[in-house]
């Protein structure tokens, strides 16, 4: 029986949980993703992001809750659901026993796709991943960035409607990250629904239309990056460093400046609408920080506000 999903979300999760014994990796999270959206799960390591992704991909069984991908339960309809998914796992799991191009073709065979489709498609994807000249290379001879691009190319072999990206750029150098972001942005433009997890706020800001902030298996907040920043932080942030010894002792003397004060081990953050004005106020109180910096609020600040902890620890 074909299922018409017009107007329905392509992913809907309600009260989704995954427990390993006493440990609650995912503890009752709910979200919906409409077709074509780029949706992010932002949180620190161990927040339950990857576990959620694995449940969405139908390779991990949930403890409780409801989950529908394209209207189907991935546990009951694993192969059917995954035919429409592209999966980029946190750690590359390329087939080291096969050459670069064969990795794409063999992976396509797992979807039951014919060679007449796969051969030109593999060449097209090698082009997309800028790996054409590496087609017959061994996988273990590729750099980290190349392996990542190959993994993403591989996830596109079945022209997925939904692409699941788990920490897509973790461990890559800045240049490789920008190349990847560019590729992902093109996919997004072509209408693919992207679901990505990240603990990089800049990545979330660049790629996500909407995101949820996840911590300890629970959703702390939801919205577009701009809206989350607006709701949970001020426009600007003043970062002051007085040296690790003095940060805590100076803090009481900063009372009343800006809207809120956050004392971290290495620096003090002053949340203010106007960072420069706050800095002038600090100077007028006779305080001389070693370094000072005024910047825009980011998702990092949202996370700090919501959980009292930094994203990257």
């Amino acid at each position: 029986m074909p299922h018409n999903l017009a107007g329905q979300p392509v992913i809907s999760a309600h009260d989704l949980s995954k427990h390993y014994g006493e440990f609650r990796a995912v503890d009752g999270i709910s979200f919906e993703v409409p077709a074509g959206e780029s949706f992010g799960l932002l949180g620190p390591n161990g927040a339950g992001k990857s576990t959620t992704m694995r449940m969405v991909g139908g390779v991990s069984q949930r403890t409780s809750g409801h989950l529908a991908i394209l209207g189907l339960d991935p546990e009951q309809h694993g192969p059917e659901v995954r035919a429409h998914l592209g999966v980029v796992p946190q750690q590359d799991n390329l087939d080291e026993e096969l050459r670069v191009r064969d990795n794409l073709i063999v992976y396509g065979r797992y979807f039951g796709l014919p060679l007449s489709y796969l051969k030109p498609k593999a060449d097209e994807l090698l082009e997309f991943a800028q790996l054409t000249d590496k087609a017959s290379a061994r996988v273990d001879s590729l750099s980290g960035g190349m392996k990542r691009r190959l993994t993403i190319a591989r996830s596109l072999i079945n022209e997925p409607k939904i692409l699941l990206l788990d920490e897509p750029t973790t461990g890559l150098d800045p240049q490789a990250r920008h190349i990847l972001w560019d590729r992902l942005f093109r996919l997004k433009e072509s209408g693919v629904t992207l679901i990505l997890t990240t603990h990089y706020m800049d990545e979330a800001e660049q790629l996500c239309d909407r995101l949820v902030v996840v911590d300890k298996g629970r959703i702390m907040a939801e919205g577009s990056p701009a809206r989350l920043i607006k709701e949970h932080s001020t426009r600007e942030v003043l970062e002051l460093r007085f040296g690790s010894e003095r940060n805590t002792t100076v803090a009481p003397e900063l009372g009343g400046i800006g809207e809120r004060l956050e004392v971290l081990p290495d620096r003090i953050l002053i949340y203010a609408h106007d960072g420069e004005a706050a800095l002038e106020e600090v100077a007028s109180r006779g305080l001389r920080p070693v370094t000072s910096l005024v910047r825009r609020s980011s998702l990092e600040d949202v996370f700090l506000r919501l959980t009292g902890r930094s994203l990257v620890e």
Binding site: M1, P2, H3, N4, L5, A6, G7, Q8, V10, A35, G36, G57, G58, V59, S60, Q61, L70, G71, L72, E75, Q76, H77, G78, P79, E80, V81, R82, A83, H84, L85, V87, P89, Q91, N93, L94, D95, E96, E97, L98, R99, D102, V106, Y107, R109, Y110, F111, G112, S155, N158, K161, E189, S190, G191, V192
Partner: protein, 276 residues
């Protein structure tokens, strides 16, 4: 370009059994295995063939010179090499199948993450299990053919019935392989995996492989006769000389039952093995 219309997001819903576990595409797993063998690990394949041959040469020819002739399945005198050769073939079928369905699966699952990749596609765990088992049996068949040829070259084959050792070795391998994955689903660490070797080595040494069962007291004979390898050894030994008895049927039936139970166990444990 524009966003795809939601009508595109439609999934074909069949209603056959096992559709959550099986996509009827085990051949993709098989062709991957063949390609991987061709492009990188054929050397490991070849080395697996030599193990029983080396045993046969050292024990059969070397030790055989001390032992002399022994009594075969039909009461006739045969050389010691001819006595142990079918047993070594049974052991090799067992070892290959157990290795492929336990250590190999454990490694590809937890370290090479190969199955993680396969299971992110529309393959189901049953496709992977069937494909990998088929590959293990194909390899077992090649080894058995090679070993039987070596037996022929050494003059240890006296009857055309001996050719049936090849399919019989595959039957033995299937019996062990069907259980292997089910067992592996219970094991989570290297230490636990070592238990497999702890079971296999004594079974290899004491299943009437190198001497007849009659050396044991009766209770121990019964115990050995309950183990699968003994049935494999006896079956191949009978085939090697073309002498059959009602026990032949029991040996074959033993493996058919083992395969049925093993496949049931493995199928029941597939989610535990692959979808943790």
């Amino acid at each position: 370009m524009t966003t795809r219309p939601a009508e595109d997001y439609r999934v074909d819903q069949g209603s056959r059994a096992f559709r959550g576990l099986y996509a009827r595409n085990a051949r993709a797993v098989i062709s991957r295995g063949l390609l991987a063998t061709r492009s990188s690990n054929w050397l490991i394949m070849v080395s697996g063939f030599f193990e029983p041959v080396l045993y046969l040469v050292s024990m059969g020819v070397g030790l055989g010179a001390l032992v002399g002739a022994v009594v075969g399945p039909g009461g006739e005198e045969i050389s010691y090499a001819a006595y142990i050769a079918p047993a070594l073939l049974a052991v090799s079928a067992m070892n290959g199948a157990v290795y492929d369905s336990t250590w190999n699966v454990f490694f590809k699952m937890n370290f090479a993450k190969l199955y993680q990749g396969m299971l992110s596609t529309s393959l189901g765990p049953l496709d992977v299990a069937i494909g990998e088992t088929f590959l293990a049996l194909l390899r077992g068949a090649l080894y058995a053919t090679g070993f039987t040829a070596v037996m022929g070259l050494m003059g240890l084959i006296t009857t055309p019935w001996a050719l049936l050792m090849v399919p019989a070795a595959v039957l033995i391998a299937f019996g062990f392989a069907s259980f292997g994955m089910g067992i592996t689903s219970f094991l989570k660490t290297f230490q636990q995996m070592e238990w497999i070797n702890f079971v296999m080595l004594p079974m290899f040494l004491f299943s009437a492989t190198f001497y007849p069962l009659s050396v044991y007291p009766q209770p121990i004979q019964w115990f050995i006769q309950a183990l699968p390898l003994w049935h494999g050894v006896e079956l191949l030994r009978q085939l090697s000389v073309g002498i059959f008895s009602p026990a032949t049927l029991i040996h074959v039936s033993y493996f058919l039952v083992l395969i049925a139970f093993g496949m049931l166990l493995t199928t029941l444990r597939l989610r535990k093995l692959f979808l943790r």
